[in-house]
C-alpha cells in the first residue's frame, strides 16, 4: 500500500526540490531509523494483504536482509541503544526495495478494477 505523496510534484520543479532537499534530509535523519540500520521501506506496515503479497515477491536475498535489519533494530530498541555511526544506513543504501513492488501491485489492482467495471460498447 502506498501513501499519498507529493514527491512527483516536487521533483518536477527543480527550484522547489532544491529548497526542500535539505529539509527532507534533516527530517529523514531526525526520524532515527537510519541510526538503527533500517531502510525507509522497512517501516511500511506489513499487516495487510497487499504488503504481504509484495513481501512474498521479494527476492530471497532481499527478504533475508530485511528480516535481519528488523531483528537488529528490535534488539537495539529493547536495549535502548543505537548502532555505532559506521553501521548507520547510508543515504545511498536507503533505496526503496518494496515500493516498486507495491506500485506494481497497485497497478494490477487498478487494472483489474477497471476491467471489472468497464462498459462494453458493441460494434454492431
Amino acid at each position: 500500500m502506498t501513501a499519498p505523496s507529493l514527491y512527483n510534484a516536487v521533483v518536477k520543479r527543480p527550484w522547489l526540490l532544491k529548497l526542500l532537499q535539505p529539509v527532507a534530509n534533516w527530517y529523514t535523519n531526525a526520524a532515527g531509523y537510519r541510526q538503527m540500520g533500517l531502510r525507509a521501506d522497512d517501516l511500511i506496515s506489513e499487516e495487510n494483504e497487499t504488503v504481504l503479497k509484495a513481501l512474498r515477491r521479494l527476492p530471497p536475498k532481499e527478504s533475508y536482509d530485511r528480516v535481519y535489519r528488523i531483528r537488529r533494530a528490535t534488539q537495539l530498541s529493547l536495549q535502548h541503544k543505537i548502532l555505532p555511526r559506521s553501521e548507520w544506513t547510508k543515504p545511498e543504501e536507503d533505496v526503496p526495495y518494496l515500493t516498486p513492488i507495491l506500485e506494481q501491485l497497485a497497478a494490477e489492482a487498478k487494472e483489474r478494477e477497471a476491467l471489472d467495471t468497464m462498459t462494453v460498447l458493441k460494434k454492431h
Binding site: 512474498r56 515477491r57 527476492p59 494490477e108 487494472e111 483489474r112 476491467l115 462494453v120
Partner: protein, 616 residues
C-alpha cells in the same frame, strides 16, 4: 390457407418428392466440397500453412519446435507452455484474458513430444487482434519471477499430480524406445526432479532459443489468405529470424527394451514397436493400426478390430493401438489399461492377435474393414481442427510438407494382406519396447508375452553356449595354473554363435590380455603359450580378486548366477551343457597336463573352500 384434405394425394407426393430432392441435393453439395489440405506458404520469413472453408470461426496456432524432445533441461517445455499468454511488455495476462473473453475467443497452449502449440480460436473478423497477440506472446513475454511462483509453478504441480498410469506407461515405452530426445517424458511425474532445472530464467532462455522464425510455423484453419499475408508480417517482425542458441536436434534412434514401474491406482501395459514416421510412406502401419484398432466403432459389439476382441476376452481392460508419428521416427504402440489381471490377459491376447497377423491370419473382409478404418482415421485427423493443426505444424517446422490427403488415401488402398503380414512380422522380429506400470506382481514381463525385448542377454544364453577353455594370461596369478616360474593359462572362447564369439574375443582382447590377443579363430581352438612370468603386479584390483577368488571360481560363480536366472526349461538345458562342456588343462613348461572337467574341479574347490572357511 389450404386445408389438408383439399390437397390431392398426387400433390402431397409431389411436395414430398420436392423436399426429398432438396435433401439429396444438399447431401451431394456437402460431398462435393471436402476440406482441402493445408497450403504451405511463407509470409515475412514465417512458415505459414492455411486453409479456408469460409466458415465463421478461425483456429490460428503457432507451432514451435519446443516439444519435450527439444528441451535442454527437464520440465522446460511445460514451463514454457504455462508461461504462454502471461504478462508481456505491452499488456498484462489479465488484460489478455479479459480482451479475449470479450471477443469470444479461446486461448490454449499445449505440447506434444515435438511441438509446443499456442492456439487461439476466435471469430473470423478478429484475425488481426489474435495475430498480434500470438506475435506478442512469442517475442515479448516477460517471464517474471512472481508469475512463475504465483501461477506457473502451482499449475504444473497440479498437472503433475494428474499424470496417470497410462501416461506413465507411454512415457516409459518412449523412454526405452528412444532413450533421450523423444524418450523424454511428455509430462514430468511428481517424482521427477525438475525443480532444480525449472525456473523463470531457464524458461526465458529456452523461449529465446525456441521462438525464432526458423523454429515456428503459423497454421491457420478458416482464415483468409489475404488477412494472413497482411497481418503476419508486421506482427511477427519482433520474432528473431534465427535462434541465438541452436536446439538439440540429434536424430532419433530406436533402442527398445523393457521397463516396469510399480504404482498405485491404475495399471497400464504398453507394447511398442518402431512405427511409421510423419510423412513416411508406410501405409501398412496405418492399416495395421486400423486392424488392431481397439475402440469399437459400433454400439453393443466389440467390432471387428483385433484389440477390441482381445479386450472383450478380458473384462475390465481396454486396449487400443496408436501410431505415434514423429518427424524422424515413429512408435506403433498397443496400450492396455484397466484392472491388473484383466490387463495381463488382454496383453497376452493382444500379442497373440499381432502374431496371428504376422502368420497371415487376416481375412480379406477384415483387410477391407481395416483399410476403411485407416482411411477414416486419416481423413478425420486431417479434418479435426486440433490434430490437423498440430500435424501440419510439426511437418512444417521439421521442413516437411503438410499431409497430402488424397495421395495418402490412395496409398492406403494399395495395402495388401501380404504387405500387412510382412509389416507385422518385421515388428515382431524387431526389438519391442515394453512398459508395465501398476501392480507388478500381476503385470506380465515382455518375455512372458512372447516378445523380444532388446536386453537379450538371457534369451541369447538360452540359445548359445559359451565354452571357455584357454586364453593366455601373463599377469593373472591363478592358483590352479602356477607352474615353476612359468604360467601358462589359457581361455579359449568357443561358441556356436559367431556374433557371440566375436563379443567374447573382444572381451578377451580388451580385458584379459591387453598385450596378447586371443586367437581370432576362436571356434574350438585351444591356444597355449609358455612365457616367463614376471612377478605379479599388485596394482590389479579386480573385485573377484579382492574377494579372494580365483579367476576360474569367479567365472564359475558368474556363470552359475546367469544360468540360475534363466527360465526353468532353458536353465536345465544350460546346466546340462555346462556339465559336459567345460574343461581345462594345466600347462607347465610347455607341456599339457591332465584335462579336467571344470565343473568337477569347481565343486571340489568349493568343498575345500567351505572347509577352510573361504569366501567362495
Amino acid at each position: 390457407m389450404i386445408c389438408r384434405p383439399a390437397l390431392t394425394r398426387g400433390s402431397q407426393l409431389a411436395l414430398r418428392r420436392q423436399g426429398a430432392a432438396k435433401l439429396a441435393r444438399r447431401g451431394f453439395a456437402a460431398v462435393a466440397s471436402p476440406k482441402a489440405s493445408y497450403e504451405p506458404t511463407t509470409i515475412g520469413d514465417v512458415k505459414v500453412a492455411s486453409r479456408d472453408d469460409g466458415g465463421p470461426t478461425t483456429r490460428l496456432a503457432v507451432v514451435a519446435k519446443a516439444g519435450t524432445r527439444y528441451e535442454p533441461l527437464p520440465g522446460l517445455t511445460v514451463g514454457l507452455e504455462e508461461f504462454a499468454f502471461k504478462n508481456t511488455q505491452k499488456r498484462s495476462a489479465l488484460r489478455i484474458t479479459r480482451e479475449t473473453e470479450l471477443l469470444g475467443g479461446q486461448l490454449s497452449s499445449y505440447h506434444t513430444r515435438e511441438a509446443l502449440v499456442l492456439q487461439a480460436n476466435f471469430l473470423r473478423e478478429d484475425l488481426p487482434y489474435f495475430v498480434e497477440l500470438l506475435g506478442e506472446v512469442l517475442s515479448q513475454t516477460r517471464y517474471t519471477t512472481h508469475e512463475y511462483h504465483e501461477e506457473v509453478e502451482d499449475v504444473i504441480h497440479a498437472k503433475q499430480a494428474k499424470v496417470d498410469a497410462a501416461a506413465v506407461a507411454l512415457d516409459a515405452a518412449h523412454s526405452v524406445a528412444f532413450h533421450t530426445g523423444l524418450g523424454a517424458p511428455l509430462y514430468p511425474t511428481p517424482s521427477t526432479p525438475i525443480s532444480s532445472y525449472l525456473n523463470e530464467h531457464s524458461v526465458a532462455a529456452f523461449a529465446e532459443a525456441a521462438y525464432s522464425k526458423s523454429n515456428i510455423a503459423v497454421i491457420a484453419d478458416g482464415a483468409s489468405q489475404a488477412g494472413l499475408s497482411k497481418w503476419i508480417e508486421p506482427f511477427f517482425q519482433a520474432v528473431p529470424a534465427q535462434s541465438p542458441s541452436p536446439l538439440n536436434t540429434a536424430a532419433s534412434k530406436y533402442y527398445g527394451g523393457e521397463q516396469r514401474i510399480a504404482r498405485l491406482g491404475g495399471n497400464s501395459v504398453v507394447i511398442a514397436f518402431p512405427g511409421a514416421a510423419l510423412g513416411a510412406n508406410q501405409p501398412e502401419i496405418a492399416v495395421l493400426v486400423g486392424l488392431l484398432g481397439g475402440e469399437s466403432t459400433i454400439k453393443w459389439s466389440p467390432g471387428f478390430s483385433l484389440l477390441s476382441k482381445a479386450a472383450a476376452a478380458a473384462p475390465g481392460a481396454s486396449a487400443k493401438a496408436i501410431n505415434f508419428a514423429y518427424s524422424d521416427a515413429g512408435l506403433l504402440a498397443i496400450q492396455i489399461n484397466g484392472q491388473a489381471k484383466a490387463v495381463r490377459k488382454a496383453a497376452e491376447e493382444s500379442v497373440k492377435a499381432l502374431k496371428s497377423v504376422a502368420e497371415g491370419g487376416v481375412s480379406k473382409e477384415n483387410l477391407v474393414k481395416a483399410i476403411a478404418k485407416a482411411k477414416f482415421n486419416l481423413l478425420s485427423a486431417s479434418e479435426a481442427s486440433g490434430t490437423g493443426l498440430v500435424l501440419t505444424g510439426s511437418s512444417l517446422i521439421h521442413g516437411g510438407q503438410p499431409l497430402q490427403v488424397a495421395e495418402s488415401v490412395k496409398a492406403l488402398e494399395g495395402v495388401t494382406a501380404d504387405k500387412l503380414k510382412t509389416a507385422a512380422k518385421t515388428l515382431l522380429e524387431g526389438k519391442a519396447s515394453v512398459a508395465a506400470v501398476g501392480d507388478l506382481h500381476v503385470l506380465p514381463f515382455a518375455e512372458e508375452l512372447g516378445l523380444r525385448p532388446s536386453a537379450a542377454v538371457d534369451s541369447r544364453l538360452a540359445h548359445h553356449t559359451v565354452h571357455i577353455v584357454i586364453l593366455h594370461l601373463t599377469h593373472f596369478p591363478l592358483s590352479v595354473c602356477h607352474g615353476e616360474g612359468t604360467i601358462t593359462i589359457g581361455i579359449c572362447v568357443w561358441s556356436r554363435d559367431s556374433e557371440l564369439g566375436g563379443a567374447c574375443r573382444l572381451f578377451a582382447s580388451r580385458f584379459l590380455a591387453p598385450r596378447k590377443r586371443a586367437h581370432p579363430e576362436s571356434r574350438s581352438h585351444c591356444e597355449t603359450k609358455s612365457v616367463n612370468r614376471p612377478a605379479p603386479t599388485a596394482k590389479m584390483t579386480f573385485a573377484w580378486k579382492a574377494a579372494g577368488l580365483t579367476y576360474n571360481r569367479y567365472l564359475a560363480v558368474a556363470a552359475r548366477v546367469v544360468r540360475r536366472s534363466l527360465k526353468e526349461d532353458k536353465r536345465l538345458a544350460a546346466e546340462r551343457r555346462g556339465q559336459q562342456d567345460l574343461r581345462f588343462a594345466k600347462w607347465s613348461n610347455g607341456k599339457q597336463g591332465e584335462i579336467k572337467n571344470l565343473a568337477e574341479a569347481n565343486a571340489q574347490a568349493a568343498v575345500e573352500s567351505a572347509a577352510t572357511g573361504g569366501t567362495a
